[in-house]
């Protein structure tokens, strides 16, 4: 009998634990109005700064309390998650091609999304620069230094990372200028750079950690904002930023996922959130977090001074837009695949 009693008690314990768990789940589901911003890797700190400002602004404007949830990861992976049903109200990704993919696969974003907000729907831009170890021991000054033998280059995988695709296109653009449009030589040049990569991380942040924390490589090809953040996190005595002679204008765009937002009754607040990104307050925060504001007039002068002056090409002019660039370079069997095959065969 004693055993039986004990077992009964155990059983009751199990039942009550499960009941408590169910209550927890139910209460989690009933949380107040919230907005989900699905973003790419390096914007964690940026949106951590912007979200409280928007919450205060929205409270003042509408009297409502709103909670903002954030999800970060490689841009391509995040787009994939939204396509598979991640309930994003807003997407703020690394490149237009990823938002295009959501628009065509789910129909939850209008096809002309990029025209709905100013500056190609990019409230901030950035560019691609180099981060090297203090004192620049390998004397890396420009893109052609990365192609030299014996230099270890850290950059993420263009197949999974939006930032990596910008890195690749920036290198390609430099090659185009250098070799006056001779694509065969440009390809060899870019292949030489990728031959120097000991690892290809899946996301931009992974690469930064590989370079800065694990101490791998001589140079990190990075988002400008990511490089400044690494300087701040690890100390300016460890690394320095090198601006190449030419780079690319990276426009990370934003869009309201109208299908999800209207279902959750968030259309109005989601639109207000995107508009807020263009407001003076947000633009100042953008510059503080090392992104180039699309409306620099609102930013502090000090924050703007740190950005090096680089000649910037654009995807539209040099590559004929993202759709074309994506297909030619990064699709299966594209030039990047050819380069990888060529490099591993050698």
């Amino acid at each position: 009998m004693g055993v039986r009693l004990q077992n009964n008690r155990l059983f009751k314990l199990g039942v009550s634990v499960s009941a408590i768990a169910l209550i927890f789940v139910a209460s989690a589901a009933q949380a107040g109005q919230s907005l989900l911003n699905v973003s790419y890797d390096p914007t964690r700190e940026l949106y951590k700064a912007i979200n409280p400002a928007f919450i205060a602004e929205w409270k003042k404007k509408s009297g409502q309390d709103i909670e903002i949830q954030a999800s970060h990861g490689g841009s391509g992976a995040q787009a994939r998650a939204v396509i598979e049903g991640l309930n994003a109200d807003i997407v703020t990704l690394a490149l237009a091609a990823d938002i295009d993919a959501i628009a065509t696969k789910t129909g939850k974003i209008p096809a002309d999304w990029q025209k709905l907000h100013s500056n190609n729907s990019s409230p901030y831009t950035s560019t691609i620069i180099f981060l090297v170890r203090k004192g620049n021991p390998k004397v890396i000054k420009d893109w052609d230094d990365l192609a030299k033998p014996g230099i270890a280059v850290i950059t993420p995988n263009p197949k999974t990372s939006g930032g990596a695709r910008w890195n690749y296109l920036a290198a390609w653009g430099y090659g185009l200028t250098q070799f006056k449009g001779d694509e065969g030589r440009v390809k060899d040049f870019v292949a030489a750079i990728y031959k120097n990569t000991p690892v290809l991380d899946t996301g931009a942040r992974g690469s930064t950690i590989t370079f800065a924390q694990r101490g791998l490589g001589d140079v990190l090809i990075a988002w400008e904002n990511e490089a400044f953040l690494a300087l701040k996190e690890f100390g300016a005595d460890k690394f320095e930023i090198v601006a190449p002679s030419q780079s690319i204008l990276a426009e990370p765009p934003v869009a309201v996922v109208e299908g999800n937002a209207s279902e959750k009754g968030n259309t109005e607040v989601a639109k207000a959130y995107v508009d807020f990104l263009y407001s003076p307050a947000a633009q100042a925060l953008i510059a503080k977090n090392h992104y180039r504001p699309s409306l620099p007039g609102f930013a502090d002068k000090e924050d703007l001074q740190k950005f090096p002056k680089i000649e910037l090409i654009t995807v539209d002019k040099t590559f004929g837009g993202w759709t074309k660039a994506q297909k030619k370079h990064f699709a299966d069997g594209g030039i990047f695949d050819e380069i990888q095959k060529q490099n591993s065969a050698q």
């Binding site: 055993v3 077992n7 768990a21 789940v25 890797d41 049903g85 991640l86 950690i209």
Partner: protein, 296 residues
């Protein structure tokens, strides 16, 4: 120990026999040393590093990591997931082990193989499978989202993935034990007029309770620590769908290594407590656990 048990005459022969198979004292010491060194380098040192990294900026910073709302939410979610998936697998494991050990039916070995499936499938694949079935583009996902039920990138998806990955633990622990014990005692109880349920509670359960507890402990440890499968179906929404292992990765990627390792310490402590309990059970109830003659 063995010296006391063996008679002097036998001892001589056994010593001679030992000498034939045993290496010299030096070789023995060397082997022990190598094994210890290996354990130290590959198991103990990493564990120590986790604790050192977590407390590198002092105890207050370590403790402060647990006061973050995201950290608390991750701990809460991990407990919820374990609290649902462990009882679910306990019931399933018991039922499956009962069916396999006490009855014979066609397709039995197939069922055993199926139970083992989650052990042999990579967790990432397990996650992807659920994504393909319950995702917005998936087979059942469309129907569920039409009903307004979110499975993937929400708590239900994480629970499902965890249940899948921890499926075999309880059943795997019980099947050999129950097979070993056979059906004699249950049959005796039934012939004496006990009902099926009473037989279960008073005969079967007491026989297997320690094995059951052991399986539940292992199941719980894995449920709390699972990364791969959960990562695929989580969506990584802060404070909502991040479990402790996912939170560790996020914090590490945010250059917040103290907080990341603090969470890792929490996970490691859970594992150590589980290990401690497991060792205690093995030590205290070795016979009951081994089902009289079974080794583990």
């Amino acid at each position: 120990m063995s010296d006391i048990l063996i008679s002097p005459a036998l001892k001589k022969t056994s010593l001679r026999l030992c000498g034939a198979t045993e290496d010299s004292a030096f070789a023995r010491k060397l082997l022990i040393f190598v094994a210890l060194l290996f354990l130290l380098l590959f198991l103990f040192a990493p564990l120590v590093v986790v604790f050192i990294e977590a407390t590198r900026k002092g105890l207050p910073a370590f403790l402060a990591s647990f006061h973050e709302t995201d950290a608390l939410a991750a701990i809460r979610l991990t407990l919820i997931v374990a609290a649902i998936s462990v009882p679910a697998n306990l019931i399933f494991g018991l039922a499956a082990a009962w069916a396999i050990a006490k009855f014979s039916f066609p397709g039995k070995s197939l069922l055993i193989t199926l139970i083992d499936l989650p052990f042999s499938v990579s967790p990432v694949v397990s996650g992807l499978v659920y994504l393909l079935v319950f995702g917005a583009q998936g087979l059942c996902g469309k129907w569920f989202s039409a009903q307004g039920i979110q499975i993937i990138f929400a708590v239900p998806g994480i629970v499902l993935a965890t249940i899948f990955v921890t499926f075999p633990f309880v059943a795997r622990e019980l099947i050999p034990l129950m097979q070993e014990q056979g059906t004699v005692e249950e049959e005796a109880a039934l012939t004496l007029g006990a009902s099926g349920l009473r037989t279960f509670w008073t005969v079967t359960i007491p026989n297997i309770k320690w094995g059951l507890l052991y399986g539940v402990l292992l199941c719980n440890a894995r449920a709390m620590g699972e990364f791969g499968a959960v990562s695929v179906v989580s969506g990584h929404v802060r404070g909502l769908t991040n479990t402790i292992p996912l939170q560790v990765e996020i914090l590490y990627n945010e250059y917040n290594s103290v907080a990341a390792f603090a969470m890792a310490v929490l996970l490691a402590s859970l594992a150590l407590v589980t290990l401690g309990l497991k060792t205690f059970l093995e030590w205290k109830y070795a016979d009951a656990l081994s089902g009289r003659s079974r080794r583990h």
